[in-house]
């Protein structure tokens, strides 16, 4: 504790005013609520050293280093932190180290509910999902940035003849009540009574990661600590005395390298041993908060013996969810009054608010424990950046960052085209050969027409783009695993801020390039409902992988040069429309104050070929599964609608125009004609509402059916290039093709995405989204087509 006189002497400044390269100490974090709490949890506690590393290329946000981690804060947020460079005036955090206290915990029967349940918890991006996938054989999405897991995922493993359920929970920095993921984890643990907690800790950033551990220690649940990324700790030259650390925390600690599976079996064995020991009465280690707070905990704990130490401490902290739990106690009123008195006494004694005091003490405990067990690499200078960040000199450089981002995007799209072209040709020839062979062996008739025109024409038209899908996801996986995606967020954060989007929205947008459904679910991490709504309603403008076959087909058919750039422009227009929509919404009917956001920049990691291949294969499998199910079924229906009713003596062209599909197409033709579309394109976008790949499969069916005998073996691309209107002019040219791509990019999200919007935002917003996206798509395609035609 500090004397008032000492405090009065401290001259403080704002962190925002500090120049790049400056190292200062935190005095206090101003404000209140979730943002303040988050900063405290991330280590912005009194006495902690912060180094200003660099401004983002657009000058906002700023990258800081604290507790060895790199944090991105906007200027307005850094202005909430008071700092000083008078080191000597501060007591060191280690002064708060009071060691541990032991609590007797009664033995429990692990099989009481017939299920052995272990939950995985840890900071965001510490490798929980990598371990979960490794242990259960699941293929849940992982990425080198936080916020990928948004709810619990359950899997199983068998060890020594016992079956155990493993639950992967979202990453959290703490277990407070301020953010949805923290409340989710806290409530899950409280309601499901796991037999053990498997706490995944990033061994390269122990100080920050062990803060969460101090909270779990108070819950008195058997815990095992897995020191993940152990290889990075070894490489850094730091040395951790695992045995001593384990003794201090009262939990088994096991080194782990989850991405390659090293140490997984040992972690599981340690977990089982811990569960077995919990059958007997054990002494549980808790953080010692000093005489005053410990006395309060003892007194209050005695008044409500059914509550655990964690909840009692939260009651003293005036945590509203803990107080709700308290309401079930018969003496709730008296306990609340006593807790309030205690809070006042503690705050008066420490001259701080209770949340800062407890956070300081927890960090003090962690730092004290590390001072005893961790020997830092003596060759590393104080304040020097840890390995894994050296590439930032280039990739987030003020002048080079944006050009590098654009070049990387262009390279990705160009490679998708050029490398994918060869296997695409092979698949195309294979499908062409299959169609011809079936055509030659089967007698003419309706069944042959269904197989050749409906199934091979429809499914085959989409299947040929499998290589490009695989290549694109291989590149995305490399960018995600390396940690570059978090840098991309850092580089463009100022733009996100300007358009009224929350910093956390970046993660759903990123996921949206793969599939809109998990992206919409990922908005659950946004605290503010209006932030969530803006993000949910704009995510469908991020071009998902299902739309890619349509772009690939049209770009390859009608643009001979700069194909990668054309494809990239479509993605960029999607982002632009999302930004404009977000500005309009956040300034009108979804107006709200901007929520602050602290983002962690993970160290760069070498992407592994294994992970990239798994990611690519899982995408490829999903794509093939869709081919064999919904695309196949939709192609059959589209073919039937284009085949019936039959009229004798008509040419294939007349037949298809007079079919049910033709009649439908003709009915909507006036609506799509101003965009440069014919009725076949109109029908394709209509059927594409079920799933976006169906746009291509519908065109495959309609143009195959329309083709005469000599054209049957031609690819869909060639058929589109030669398709003509009744007046003999070409249906497609680059302007029509681009207008069509714009419409596909922006219109009606697919049924699955709409269902997700309905679930997350409600029916009203789902209906709004249908009309809004389709209206925007029509308007932009119309403007593009009409203006481009003038030149």
């Amino acid at each position: 504790m500090k004397s008032e006189q000492d405090k009065a002497k401290i001259v403080t400044r704002l962190l925002d005013d500090e120049p790049v390269g400056q190292t200062v100490q935190v005095v206090r974090v101003m404000g209140d609520g979730a943002f303040r709490q988050r900063l405290l949890e991330m280590g912005f506690v009194r006495g902690a050293k912060v180094t200003v590393l660099k401004n983002a290329p657009l000058q906002d946000p700023v990258e800081y280093m604290i507790l060895g981690a790199h944090i991105s804060l906007r200027h307005s947020e850094a202005a909430q932190v008071e700092v000083t460079d008078k080191e000597a005036l501060f007591c060191d955090l280690e002064d708060n180290f009071n060691g541990i206290v032991e609590t007797e915990v009664a033995g429990v029967d692990p099989m009481a509910d017939n299920v052995l349940r272990v939950v995985l918890i840890g900071n965001p991006n510490c490798g929980k999902t990598s371990l979960f996938n490794n242990v259960t054989g699941a293929k849940e999405k992982v990425g080198n940035y936080g916020g990928v897991t948004v709810d619990s995922k359950e899997g199983w493993f068998n060890i020594d003849g016992r079956r155990v359920q493993l639950v992967d929970l979202p990453g959290t920095y703490s277990l407070t009540e301020y953010s949805p993921e923290e409340m989710y984890v806290r409530t899950y643990i409280r309601d499901n009574h796991p037999d053990a907690i498997l706490n995944i800790v990033d061994a390269g950033n122990l100080e920050r990661n062990l803060y969460l551990t101090t909270q779990v220690m108070d819950m008195n649940i058997p815990m095992v600590i897995a020191l993940n990324m152990w290889d990075e700790l070894e490489k850094s030259g730091d040395h951790l005395d695992i045995e001593m650390m384990s003794r201090l925390l009262g939990a088994r600690m096991v080194p782990l390298t989850a991405y390659n599976g090293r140490g997984v079996k040992e972690v599981l064995q340690a977990t089982m041993q811990t569960i077995d020991e919990s059958e007997k009465e054990t002494m549980h280690h808790n953080v010692n908060y000093g005489t005053l707070i410990e006395d309060c905990l003892k007194e209050l704990g005695g008044m409500c013996p059914t509550l655990d130490r964690y909840t009692v401490l939260k009651v003293i902290e005036n945590d509203q969810h803990a107080i709700e739990l308290l309401n079930s106690q018969p003496n709730a009123g008296q306990v609340k009054k006593t807790a309030a008195d205690m809070r006042q006494r503690i705050e008066r004694d420490y001259n701080e608010d209770i949340v800062s005091i407890i956070t300081d003490l927890k960090y003090g405990f962690v730092r004290g424990a590390l001072a005893e067990a961790l020997t830092p690499n003596p060759d590393r200078a104080t304040g020097e950046t840890k390995p894994g960040y050296s590439m930032d000199r280039l990739l987030t450089n003020r002048w080079l960052a944006l050009p590098i981002l654009l070049v990387l995007m262009w390279l990705m799209f160009e490679a998708t085209f050029t490398l994918g072209a060869y296997p695409q040709e092979w698949i195309e020839s294979g499908i062409g050969w299959l169609g011809e062979w079936i055509g030659s062996v089967m007698p003419d008739g309706i069944l042959k027409d269904l197989i050749v025109d409906g199934i091979i024409g429809g499914v085959g038209g989409v299947l040929v783009f499998l290589p490009q899908i695989l290549i694109l996801f291989f590149f995305i996986s490399l960018l995600e695993d390396s940690g570059y995606m978090a840098r991309a967020a850092f580089i463009v954060d100022r733009i996100m801020h300007r358009v009224g989007l929350h910093g956390k929205s970046f993660i759903p947008y990123l996921i949206g390039f793969g599939c809109g459904v998990p992206a919409i679910m990922a908005t659950r991490t946004l605290e503010n409902r209006r932030d969530r709504l803006v993000t949910i309603l704009t995510v469908p403008f991020m071009s998902c992988s299902a739309r890619l076959p349509a772009y690939l087909l049209l770009v390859a058919a009608f643009f001979t040069a700069n194909q990668g750039l054309i494809l990239m422009s479509i993605y960029l227009i999607g982002i632009l429309v999302a930004a404009i929509t977000a500005i309009i919404m956040s300034k009108t009917f979804l107006k709200h104050d901007k929520t602050q956001f602290v983002m962690e920049l993970p160290p760069y990691r070498k992407p592994t070929a294994r992970n990239a291949t798994i990611h690519m294969w899982s995408k490829g499998k999903q794509y093939l599964q869709k081919m064999a199910t919904i695309i196949l079924a939709a192609s059959i229906i589209v073919w039937a609608l284009g085949y019936f009713p039959r009229h004798e003596g008509q040419t294939p062209q007349e037949q298809i125009e007079n079919s049910y599909m033709g009649q439908m197409g003709k009915a909507i033709e006036p609506v799509v004609e101003p965009l440069g579309f014919n009725w076949q394109m109109g029908v394709s976008v209509l059927t594409g509402a079920a799933a976006k790949e169906i746009v291509v499969s519908t065109m495959g069916v309609l143009y195959t059916g329309e083709a005469d005998a000599t054209e049957e073996s031609a690819s869909l691309k060639e058929k589109l290039q030669t398709a003509t209107k009744p007046d003999g002019t070409h249906v497609f040219d680059p302007i029509v093709a681009y207008s069509f791509m714009l419409f596909i990019l922006l219109y009606f999200p697919c049924i699955a995405a709409l269902a997700a919007i309905k679930r997350e935002a409600g029916t009203k917003w789902m209906i709004f989204e249908i009309f809004y996206t389709t209206g925007v798509a029509w308007l932009i395609s119309f403007l593009f087509y009409q203006v481009a035609r003038m030149f």
């Binding site: 199983w156 155990v164 599964q625 196949l632």
Partner: protein
């Protein structure tokens, strides 16, 4: 195969495809989040996944 049989077979396939698509759409819209709806068609929260051996 006679034209009539071929027609019956084809109409049967079309009917199955139609029922499949409609069921899929209804199932997706009614989903409470158990099926992630990403297109894999599987319940990603399935409790009966086989466990890995250690």
């Amino acid at each position: 195969m006679s034209t009539i049989i071929q027609t019956i077979v084809v109409l049967g396939i079309v009917a199955v495809a139609l029922v499949y698509v409609l069921r899929r759409v209804v199932k997706t819209m009614r989903s409470k989040g158990g099926d992630c709806g990403c297109g894999c068609g599987k319940d990603c929260q399935c409790k009966n996944k086989p466990g890995k051996e250690f």
